[in-house]
Amino acid sequence: MAEKGKLSNEHLGGVVRLREEQEKVVKDCENRVQHWKKVSGDYEALNHRLKTLPDQLSYEITVPFGPLAFMPGKLVHTNEVTALLGDNWFAKCSTKQAQKIVDHRTKYVKSEIDDLLKTMKNFEARVGLAKDLENISSGKGDFIDIREDSGNIEVAVTKGRKRIAHKPNSKPKLDAILDLKEEEEEDENKGEDGGKRVGTITEEELWARLDELEKLEQQQDDQDRLSDNADMNGDMNDEETSSSSSEEEKEAALPVNGQSLKPSWTSAPHGKLPPCIESKAEEDDDEEEGNGLPTIFFSHTMEPKKVRINTGKNTMLKFSERKEQHSKKKKKNGLNGHSHHELHKISTPVDIYRLFVDVKNGELIPRKSILKSRSRENSVCSDTSESSAADFDERRMIGRSFSHDDATTHSDTSDGITEEDSPTAVPLHPASRFEAFSGTVVEKDPMPTAVPHLTITPPALPTIMERKQEEVASDVAPPKEAPKRVSKFKAARLQQK
């Protein structure tokens, strides 16, 4: 207690001194402003004189002659003055020019006065603040107990003061006082409640953040698992186990989506439909805006076809609906599915990088730079880019066995493919989601044997699919497909090597 009293006393003394110094500054400013005002007045008079001086050719005047005597005289050359510019520089000029100079000087004087006034105002506000501080600190004496009770509150009070101090110009002292008092009252009444509130808020945010991080972690885990599977399982068949395990995990992780995960593909599409429709509607106006981040991804890519093919089961419905609405926007359907997932997935720039993966030795490796062009063999982009899409198309033409959309343009193909493929895929899937992949696998096997180039392509596609599916998995059911596809792709790669 004694210490606190001392502190407050010291504080008070400091405040008093601060106020005195600030008052000094204000007074000084006032004096200077006074001085400049006088100068300004002089210049005004001079200006007036200069204006009227050339009115006549000559004036009768009494010339001061020493300190005591005057003598009559005549003022001639009324349009000729010598002006002192400063620093002992003189200039002979006409009264007009002299007036210009005078104007210039008055401008300077005005700016000077303005500056001084500003400073003065500033310090006046500070003086007011200091006075308030003084009052409060002296008033503190009565309420010492309160202050001591809440050390935290004291801090808060000081905080409040600081804030006020930042806008002393705009805020009158009264406000500051009121604020402070209010704060004090609050502190008295509620004590630490305010602090708790703040704490809770932050806590909520914290939890939200934690959840987010957890999700991310799970996603990453899934991804890792997938890559592991790819490494371990050359065949698609083996993947079932891994996929199932991943499934389980995903279910556990995402209880909400649990149903969608297990059910057949048809069910999954239903679950997805609503979002797709929404996205479509949005897309009608603006494709990209509707999807947010994900849309941006896809807007640049031609792959929609691929996506649909790969994920056809999931996205079928969307595509068909889309066709009806817009032929052009179909590309984005695949994207929509993505966007749906991505909405959850992409929350930070880092997430974007996660979508780009290099495949090395059958493992997915995050790319160091997504700006560099990737070599086709080594790297795969989870979301397909234009170039990759184009390449795929070309390769498909050659390796046609698995691709459905050779002849058609991208948009057209996408529609056609989705319709055609999805039905085909569906029959396969009923037994298990993996079966659909098995079909893909068949395609891939031929590829490696046929041409190295071709082999490359299939991997790329699978990877894409897997990625998307992963995303899907995170949100909804389809996770199992992803592992299979990956494994296929990787298996192909391994075989090549």
């Binding site: 010598t82 510019l85 520089w89 003189f90 002979k92 000029c93 100079i101 210039h104």
Partner: protein
């Protein structure tokens, strides 16, 4: 013992005062330079208002010496440069001086403590 320290302390205080004087001197010089800078700036601007028909004089001692307008402008510009250079020089000088005086102050305070200790010791002995 205490007396020796006291002597030393006095000498140091004297030095410190001298230093403070230097500081305040250079501060005032700097302020003067600042005003000169403002003045010369005004002169320059006002010279720009004039044209070749005007005659420019420089007051040297008691006489007004006629000067060419361009020459006057050049002179003023040079003077501005000089003043700016001077200001910078004084700025660095001031920084130096302040640092030194700060160091000196610390030294002084330590000396003072020593002195007080010595005094207390001598008193205790006595």
């Amino acid at each position: 013992m205490a007396e020796a320290i006291q002597k030393k302390l006095k000498a140091e205080v004297e030095k410190f005062r001298q230093m403070e004087k230097d500081v305040s001197k250079s501060v005032s010089t700097r302020q003067k330079l600042e005003t000169q800078l403002a003045e010369n700036n005004i002169v320059k601007e006002e010279l720009d208002l004039l044209d070749t028909t005007n005659t420019v004089y420089k007051l040297i001692g008691p006489v007004l010496v006629k000067q060419d307008l361009d020459e006057a402008k050049a002179t003023v510009t040079k003077r501005l440069e000089y003043i700016n250079g001077e200001i910078q020089r004084y700025e660095s000088l001031l920084k130096d001086l302040e640092k030194k005086s700060e160091q000196h102050r610390e030294l002084l305070s330590s000396l003072q403590q020593e002195f007080q200790k010595a005094q207390g010791l001598s008193v205790g002995k006595a």
